[in-house]
């Protein structure tokens, strides 16, 4: 070997790169330089999933008990077990018809709808953030929720409530298409996508308000607020069926997209070079999020920030030395966390100003708005 340079162990050069030197492209943001200690990421995710699952079950029982009727979690459990035909098995006394009605006809379906909507929106946010490589992507910010609201409101006005989820889906799909078109097709810049979503949200939100105002017979202002900010006040068993079915049929398969979403970490070209059919996967998964968002918005209105906040919260919760979990762990954990989050947000919405109802979207925005700002500040590269 005539010259020693290439024969030197390459490892030495890695050390030669001086931080801050012109060839040092490291970012100070998030560049904490901490080293993750050990592995066990998956074991940790499993523990977190178990904890979140138990927390969700406990949240459902507690949230049903909270409210003016002074129910205890034990009574809630008794009512639920009786309706499932398991009351006798545990020797439980049935509740009075009035109290049983509060649990079974009012609060349980409302809490279950909240859980399903929360889980579904968090899933949609996780998938959209990965596919668009945009930490701010979320069904609400990109206008899907407004589109779905417009679709839903339109068919209600036309008296075709059967077609509600379908119309909401078509609205969400239309809004998604409009946002992507505005953002400029192929190379979706995160900030252009958000701006496109803003424009689409404004237009579809205004149209939704107009349709309600034009057609309403009663309190049109409350109706408008409920659709634009979201509310679960009217959620009964049919809402559980719609949101639950959507979650099972669309949300469950999405849980298996983790490896594919991981492959998008370095962008479309890299994903394609790893053997992922990028275009097909993108339209399939974005279509699925539009479908899921449509079904959820049809029962809850446009609840914001759930899809934005939860994936980030879960990443922080499970991160090791700053390295976030892969999507295989992130998807189910976000769904569980989203369910818990919305159950409690909705409980706040119906009890904080009792007997008046707050649209739940006001509470999720109070939490989500600052998180949005924080992500923007932390992630100045979004541009």
């Amino acid at each position: 070997m005539a010259s020693p340079a290439p024969a030197a162990p390459p490892a030495e050069t890695a050390r030669l790169v001086v931080p801050g030197a012109p060839n040092d492209k490291s970012r100070s943001l998030g560049a904490r330089g901490r080293r993750p200690r050990g592995r066990g990421q998956r074991g940790r995710s499993g523990v977190v999933a178990a904890v979140l699952g138990l927390a969700l079950a406990a949240s459902v029982l507690l949230a049903i008990a909270i409210g003016p009727a002074d129910l205890s979690p034990a009574e809630v459990l008794a009512s639920v077990l009786h309706h499932l035909g398991l009351g006798g098995l545990f020797g439980l006394e049935p509740l009075s018809p009035l109290r049983d009605g509060i649990v079974w006809e009012l609060r349980l379906p409302r809490v279950l709808t909240a859980a399903a909507v929360g889980a579904g929106l968090a899933l949609c946010g996780t998938v959209m953030q990965a596919l668009m490589r945009n930490p701010l992507a979320d069904p609400y910010l990109l206008g899907l929720s407004s589109g779905a609201s417009l679709g839903a409101v339109s068919v209600i006005v036309l008296g075709a409530a059967i077609a509600l989820p379908v119309a909401a889906f078509l609205g969400a799909l239309l809004a998604l298409g409009a946002t992507l078109l505005l953002a400029g097709g192929g190379g979706l810049s995160p900030s252009r996508t958000i701006l496109g979503g803003l424009a689409v949200s404004a237009i579809f939100g205004a149209l939704t308000s107009l349709v309600i105002f034009w057609s309403a017979t009663g309190d049109s202002y409350r109706e408008i607020l409920n659709w634009l900010l979201g509310s679960l006040a009217g959620a009964r068993w049919p809402a559980v069926v719609i949101a639950g079915t959507a979650l099972l049929v669309i949300g469950l398969p999405l849980l298996f997209s983790g490896t594919v979403l991981d492959a998008f970490a370095f962008g479309d070209t890299a994903a394609s070079a790893l053997g992922i059919p990028v275009t097909r996967v993108r339209w399939l998964l974005l279509g699925a999020t539009a479908l899921l968002t449509g079904a959820l918005v049809a029962v809850s209105g446009a609840i914001g920030f759930v899809g934005l906040v939860l994936p980030h919260a879960v990443r922080l919760l499970v991160s090791r030395g700053g390295a976030g979990p892969g999507h295989q762990a992130l998807l189910p954990l976000s769904a569980l966390a989203g369910a818990i989050f919305l159950v409690w947000m909705d409980t706040g919405a119906r009890t904080l100003f009792d007997p008046r109802e707050l649209p739940v979207g006001i509470l999720t925005a109070i939490v989500g708005g600052p998180v949005f700002a924080l992500i923007m500040l932390r992630n100045r590269r979004v541009g």
Binding site: A5, A8, P10, A31
Partner: protein, 305 residues
């Protein structure tokens, strides 16, 4: 600009005697149109098996596009791509990703990925899409990091790496795909001179283990120093191909790049070494290259304006 060419000269017949070896990369009449313009115009090229090929050419010649077509990231409008006698363009995307890996010029992620996780992505075409990476995958990722001299980066966050460290990790990710054909888009971009030499020396060692590698390179001296085979692209066409010594001539460089190049011989490695200067305004050709360095900077602005 001159670079200390480091690799010893190859055997005189390097790239010229592929008969014994299995066929390497072959493209035939590859073409690709973007926005109505022909970006790749009927490219036939051959890189012998187990060799390092360099694609050179001016900006916009189609180097990256050609690599993307070979990798199947872009779909060509016609033509064929094969490696080792097997058609790649008709294979499924996943099957193709098990044979070809692409190390991109710019690789960035907004996620907080550990270096190990980034390299494990290379295992995607080999593992089930419904299971996490297994012990094998972790072992291969660790080995590829070691191969690229990046073993001690394994637990770092990708975002905290320097440009040179990232290039190593990106190369490790491509190697984790266990490709038989490795495509590198400007692998020496943003690297200091030592890291440039190290990277190409590593790739060149890998080719000795039977890997076929193709690198798009801007630096003609690096191509001269390391490549077994050079393909010159201009406006989407192959204008010359062959061993570096036969391709990198003063005439060709003038024709393709519009500059004058003095072809010297590296005193230690014996490989070609190019010294550039701007063509004189009257384009009369043969001038002496002695004042090349001084003249280049001064005239570069004028030439490009």
């Amino acid at each position: 600009m001159t670079v200390t060419a480091a690799r010893p000269a190859p055997a005189a017949d390097a790239g010229l005697a592929p008969d014994a070896a299995p066929p390497g990369l072959e493209t035939s009449r590859l073409h690709f149109t973007r926005a109505g313009a022909l970006v790749i115009d009927g490219v036939d090229c051959t890189i012998p098996h187990g060799r390092l090929g360099a694609i050179i050419g001016p900006n916009g010649a189609g180097k990256s596009t050609l690599l993307h077509l070979i990798a199947g990231v872009l779909n060509g409008d016609g033509g064929t791509v094969s490696h080792g006698g097997t058609r790649l363009d008709t294979a499924t995307r996943r099957a193709r990703a098990r044979v070809v890996a692409l190390a991109e010029q710019h690789a960035d992620s907004q996620l907080e990925l550990s270096v190990t996780d980034a390299v494990l992505l290379g295992r995607t075409p080999h593992r089930s899409l419904f299971a996490g990476p297994g012990a094998d995958d972790h072992a291969i990722a660790a080995r590829c990091l070691a191969d690229t001299g990046a073993a001690e980066l394994a637990d770092r966050l990708y975002r905290t790496l320097s440009g040179g460290e990232r290039q190593r990790v990106n190369l490790a990710r491509a190697l984790a795909q266990e490709p038989r054909l490795l495509l590198l888009d400007e692998p020496t971009n943003h690297l200091d001179i030592r890291a440039q030499l190290d990277t190409l020396a590593l790739v060149s060692r890998l080719t000795e283990r039977g890997l076929t590698a193709v690198a798009a390179l801007h630096d003609l001296n690096l191509a001269a120093a390391f490549a077994d085979h050079v393909i010159v692209l201009a406006a989407g066409r192959v204008v010359a191909a062959g061993a570096p010594a036969s391709v990198l001539t003063s005439e060709l460089i003038r024709e393709v790049y519009g500059v004058h190049a003095e072809v010297l011989r590296h005193p230690t490695t014996g490989r070609a070494l190019l010294a550039f200067s701007a063509l004189p305004a009257d384009d009369s050709g043969a001038d002496d290259g002695a004042d090349a360095a001084a003249g280049t900077a001064a005239t570069a602005a004028r030439v490009s304006a």
